[in-house]
Symmetry: C3
Subunit: 445 residues, 3 copies
């Protein structure tokens, strides 16, 4: 028998952050893309830690309005100058290849070469991350400083040992069955090569979350997606159309390893249950945070929140993608991530789940005037929690608003009191048989 | 034939404030509690001024979730040191006894005594007010400075000549019948011994309000409760369950004699008719004030607004209980109260009633375009009120929004104009037969 | 075949502003009033530029709650002192006569004269504008400085050569029929003599607007009223009761030639379609502006928005009447108006119409996930508008919110993006057959 969802401990957070950072180091060197063996290898490594089911969808399969593309694999790539010196070597950085480059091997002039080179004039030391998934092309990415040193009169040998052929798209899914069928979805993407905050922070956080949740008796079911961005979300939606009505809401998990404050991007409707839960978890955390409205840009919330599905997907990040200078460059590396950031991100996600799991609507059995608490020993119970100066207040909030219309989350928001204390007050009132749970509060939607 | 509710005059306010302060001086020396002869004597004194009906509910009677407690009476109490000197003498301050102390007479060590002594380290010169209604105990309250002077090695004689026996709980009720059955309730408590702002300011204000209203022909009915806090509200609710549906709303009247700005604590729903009226009365007063949301703490609004009743009770105070340092100490005495504060508090309560009494929905009989006012002599009428620069504007507000959906209160809030001028504009338009009263606007709920 | 509503060009604005200012100069010298040949002459001049139908309603005709007054015409007026010198000469300023003065010719003392003189002590050099339409009287308006120079002991000859007799009230109407019967009304007043911002700026702007719109194929119908204030609006409403249900909303056009920022006075309901359109047009203009709530004062919105009609009339002005010192004085003259102000006011009105004409609700045909835009060449289309950095974002806004519940205007407000770019994004998506127009979106009300 598993225990009801407890507070996450410091110890759990510390050991989880070690595992998260270790996993990030293991996954970092793989040159991931939206298809190919790199994805399979990534999922294999994750599978060593948590149960995960993988799916393969063949090239050419129609998925919603899209088609599964050819599978891409890369083995080697370089540019040599006429002296035979390797100017750029894929072995030094996965980012140095335009992701999804077709194979090429030829000698070309600088004129021809430079249309295939990508760099950042404003960040001259960094290698940018570029892709060309749906437009067959080849190219290299390099620091602008290196680009400037290239001799325009020289001849260059370009070599890309890649394959772009029929194959399949791979994704992984992990599922924790709770007492109820209704589920919360956590989605991360696994298609970026050697990029830490905007990519690997998501999978490693989910890995730790699954580890912790799998030891707990859960009320709701939880699904975790490890998918290539965009096409993976579209493929997953296509394959799970019949199951979408079970989804209460979800999260796109990314950019949660940097040192910025939290940013929550709300769901499309803007006042969903998910939004209220996150707002309260952030508020109670005493950390700084910002909440912003939904917009139809960004990551896979674009697909989950498309108007035909309109699923309540939010995105709880630290610094959002494209809003930090290291984004999509070689600077979004292992040094950019801090273990303690991963730990506090994990805690917020856990606290969000804790609210979802423990929320409910209760009915005050003595709604006419206040029930006499002293007679029932409630004041002794309060005395037993003398560290919680607001427990008594919370008891009166719960009593007054447990009228069948307010859930514990609603009451905690109205009272501007910590959710955990509202929950504790509820537990004490339940113990004294003053509250009863409202039947059929199974789905907060 | 009584007159329709007029403006309250300066003279009325001055004479009322003299009566209020005089009554407070008469009531101050009584050692009130939630039951006993002190409550009876308090009500007897009030009865000399206004008609009041008193009720007695026997000890042991179940009321809602509670039971009427034993009746408490106190006659004398002191502590003597071994030299026979009275260290504390109940005759010097009603606060020096723990309210509801059981009888005791014995010699005890300082060790034993000190568990029965209550003081305020942060306010060392003041005697605190403490009670133990539902937990049989005895004790004394004293200044911390006096406590420090007690000899820990001495032996002390403690004497409390009290009775805690079967009896009854006493409360009083005054009722002014209006044209309609619907009623507004004003509730104050009469259970605090020798405390002025948090307690006596309420009863003396109601006394003056009843005096003034009893000379006026009223539209609504008004009920005034003089009850012990908590148990009295519960007992009254229990005895009046069949009448609650007549209650439009009400007020818990307390803390209205100090010099702080007004604070209005809204009703549970937060946008009731009562809330709108008070907001407008405060706005029009040009005094400073704050409006705060309902919370399920505080005074008897906790009972009236419990979810099973959900009556619209607000609390219009000056400085709220527990938010001024004199609260529940010997410093909340006659010097803490100023007559002019009582007077302006009385005026606000009167103005609240004035809005309730005169509000209504009227229908513009000429809603298509503006009616031609000149032809009807309206501009001459406006000229007759040349001191009211906004009267003409108010006439157009009333004309435009007397569409059957807006009461005068609504219009005055929308127009941000003084309610009295909106009312005057309405009277002029009625006189010229441009408006008619909407039938069946009998209850603003 | 006319073209769909295009952007207004700089050239159009420049030539329109020249016409507007020229027309203002032509109309300025006429001593208009609410009836009489001056109104006929004004409409005749306007008729030279645009098609306009004129209406005559006989004196004595009942209109709503009013009656058409006698017709007023003025030919000459002066005051002479005893030396036979003209102190005030109507020929020098149309404002010098109390508008609607009855005829008079007599010699009177200063004592009697001064009750018929109107001046502004605070603006001693200016002649005020005064009327006495519904109260038979005579009078002269003059600068306070001139008033001070009058000899109180002198005798004065007053002469007013006017007629106030049975006749008719005249107003004009221009109508542009669109594809739909639903119409937008633009109303201006033509009753002020020699006043530019508060009066003539309205008619000349409408004249240019009609000129431009008449060359365009329109979706909605547009009606333009040239009426005397108040009584003209009442007469027009009276004559058009059966047509009011076709009116989506309208504008009272006045005070749009001064140099102040725009002020929009909202419609009575405060959140009508008209209000949303103006808010967006102003926002997109990058000009400074203020938006204020409806009040039942002001100009003819008082009649159109009276509760029996409750038409959605807003007022998009620059500095509102009575809020600039030149208002209703001889200083509201041709020098107070600037061509470029008229031009930018015309542009805003045109942009408002452009939004109304092009707004619609569209349905995303591929609402499940994002449609694959690359495959359809959408990215090439976006590339063709490289000056519009937000076009791609707007495409995703349109895709996500074209769910049948949001019009383009709604989407542009939600996205905080320029309406024109939202419209362009929509056009590209329509071209690629990704959107279809929702049937029966004919009336935004």
């Amino acid at each position: 028998m598993k225990k009801m969802i407890p507070e996450i401990t410091k110890q759990q957070l510390e050991s989880s952050s070690n595992i998260m950072y270790k996993m990030m180091k293991i996954l970092y060197p793989i040159c991931r893309s939206i298809t190919g063996n790199s994805v399979r290898k990534t999922l294999e490594i994750i599978k060593n830690e948590i149960p995960i089911q993988t799916f393969e969808i063949p090239t050419g399969t129609p998925v919603l309005d899209w088609t599964i593309p050819k599978e891409w694999n890369i083995y080697d790539a370089y540019i040599k100058n006429s002296n035979g010196e390797k100017i750029i070597d894929f072995k030094n950085s996965n980012l140095s290849i335009l992701n999804y480059s077709i194979p090429v091997h030829k000698k070309i002039s600088f004129e021809e070469l430079k249309d295939h080179l990508f760099y950042l004039q404003n960040q001259p030391d960094l290698i940018p991350y570029r892709t060309s998934y749906y437009n067959e092309n080849w190219g290299f990415c390099l620091p602008y400083n290196l680009f400037c040193k290239l001799d325009p009169k020289d001849e260059y040998e370009v070599f890309i040992d890649s394959t772009l052929e029929s194959g399949s798209l791979t994704y992984g899914e992990s599922f924790l069955k709770g007492e109820l069928d209704q589920e919360i979805v956590f989605s991360c993407y696994i298609c970026h090569p050697s990029l830490c905050n905007d990519n690997l922070s998501g999978p490693v956080l989910l890995l730790s979350l699954i580890n912790i949740l799998s030891k707990i008796k859960l009320k709701y079911s939880y699904r975790f997606l490890f998918i290539p961005e965009t096409i993976g979300a579209i493929a997953w939606l296509h394959n799970n159309l019949g199951r979408l009505s079970k989804i209460i809401g979800g999260f796109v998990v990314t950019c949660i390893g940097d040192s910025g404050p939290f940013t929550y991007k709300k769901t499309r409707v803007g006042n969903s249950y998910i939004d209220k839960v996150v707002k309260k978890a952030l508020k109670d955390s005493n950390l700084t945070y910002k909440i912003r409205e939904f917009d139809p840009h960004g990551s896979d919330e674009r697909q989950f929140s498309s108007p035909g599905f309109n699923l309540n997907f939010g995105s709880l990040m630290r610094t959002p993608y494209a809003e930090y200078p290291e984004y999509h460059t070689s600077a979004d590396n292992l040094n950019f991530i801090r273990k303690e950031n991963l730990a506090s991100s994990l805690k917020i996600y856990y606290d969000v789940i804790k609210i979802i799991e423990t929320d409910g609507i209760y009915i005050n059995k003595y709604p006419h005037g206040e029930p006499q608490l002293g007679r029932r020993g409630l004041y002794d119970e309060i005395g037993g929690h003398s560290d919680l100066s607001n427990l008594k207040k919370c008891i009166f909030w719960v009593l007054n608003f447990s009228d069948g219309n307010h859930s514990l989350l609603d009451i905690s928001l109205k009272a501007k009191e910590n959710y955990n204390v509202i929950k504790l007050a509820t537990d004490l009132l339940l113990k004294k048989d003053i509250l009863i749970e409202k039947e059929n509060f199974k789905n907060p939607l």
